[in-house]
Symmetry: C2
Subunit: 318 residues, 2 copies
Amino acid sequence: MKPYVLGIDIGGTNTVFGIVDARGVVIASNSIKTAKHPKFEDYLDELHKEAMRLIEANDAVDKIYGIGIGAPNTNYYTGMIEECANLIWETPIALSKMVSEKFGIPCAVTNDANAAAIGEMTYGAARGMKDFIMITLGTGVGSGIVINGQVVYGHDGFAGELGHIIVKRNNGRICGCGRTGCLETYCSATGVARTAREFLEIRTEPSSLRNLPIEDITSKDVYDAAMSGDKLAKEVFDYTGKILGEAMADMTVFSSPEAFIIFGGLAKAGELILKPIREAMDKNMLSVFKGKPKVLLSELKEADAAVLGASALGWEAK
Amino acid sequence: MKPYVLGIDIGGTNTVFGIVDARGVVIASNSIKTAKHPKFEDYLDELHKEAMRLIEANDAVDKIYGIGIGAPNTNYYTGMIEECANLIWETPIALSKMVSEKFGIPCAVTNDANAAAIGEMTYGAARGMKDFIMITLGTGVGSGIVINGQVVYGHDGFAGELGHIIVKRNNGRICGCGRTGCLETYCSATGVARTAREFLEIRTEPSSLRNLPIEDITSKDVYDAAMSGDKLAKEVFDYTGKILGEAMADMTVFSSPEAFIIFGGLAKAGELILKPIREAMDKNMLSVFKGKPKVLLSELKEADAAVLGASALGWEAK
């Protein structure tokens, strides 16, 4: 059996790719700009050229078992990118087919959050778990759900969009999806910044965040302020964690996971966000599940996570 | 291979059991009172005696492949009834072990809603489906979730309690589970009666329901009034279906089912409840899932459903 897989993470800005072995060691990696080529064919040419350069430099020609790709809005069943606001190319794109033909290597694709879940199950905090839910807290809120050891793709290949559970039926925040009140409008990095702005406008307490231009506040600013002891900034994380914990209690009645794995930029806030999450879960949990689901931080290194997650899928490619 | 299974449905009032063949034909069935014996051992003696009488009368001795049991709060993994407000016996009860020892036949157990889902998948509206969600609308709201052709039991065996998704965070109705705002406080038969009482108190329109003692109103009364053209009674179903449809749109982002199968007493309301469910789903659905999940009524005959569902599990017993 060939000893390596190629993992490719296609993000809106960068495409990161790496050669990974069966134990999850990233042998070598590199990246290209995703949005440089208006046509997908030209992007694929460059990706192929650069990936082959990396493969040759690491003596891995004919040693790649499969290619795994994580990309937004990608369908595991069809191998297509169906439509995607974050990518500049014309859709649909027959991603899996085109990549495997270009490289002459089998390829499997899924969305980025599912790729992260597969990576976590294969190499990270979910090793040995058969039932868990990965929650990615970045620009949006993504999720990868694993039940009976399998990623949940659903009937159409798009299951696991937990960022779009509606947590406020009335007067909820406008979401990029066109609806209102979605979880991700509150619990993403963007949501944290929105909450901070709301708090600063509505409330009167002093806060170091008032020294910043209100429209420019980021979740990182809120984090820094909270770590310096700013009370209002801490309450922004309390509010965020409470909404997420309430939603996670609802997710628990669905699939009763062994653990939730928290991943992505906001996960760096650590106990600032984990504590209110755990409190809200406990307060809102149906009694039969009380105290059962663990809340863990991802164990994948941030820099490697995307490539590792995508690469793990490469072992399934056929 | 032995040609029959024995299906047993243990309800709070009656225990129904039947001999079922591989095509889902109920060869013969009978029932006993569940609550007659304060000790589970005595109940089991009677159940065994009556079931054996049925088996002998139908020339099925040594022809029973397995026993499947559906009962409230039952754990598929452990075969135990862990605790149950609706049964009078001391818990936990090692249900699967005790029944299989008594009969000398392998036995598998699960909760009643999961049994219904297995029955629907094997013999009913979900034949050929790998991803669907069964919603049972009775005294409470139960659910059985099927993903990749498997019932979702979760890490602890208790997954699929969708009746306890919280649909109103503030000022929600008190639920039997000790929390407030659960789906089943609104969308069960009991919930429909509660809604009717609320509407009658708060609103001023005439309604034939005002002729009944308000505390005695049942979902059947509301159904009868709605079918006779009573506007307020119809709006009770609109309200019920709207809340359920909103919740079903949220369930869709989790597992993207091919269909929701509606089962139980309230399902008899047909279009009275299906229409507002479909409208609310459509209005609240994330665009990628819009128009995809079907909403179907159970195809299992009400009288046979419980036994059929339980019996289907008998083929898995080992």
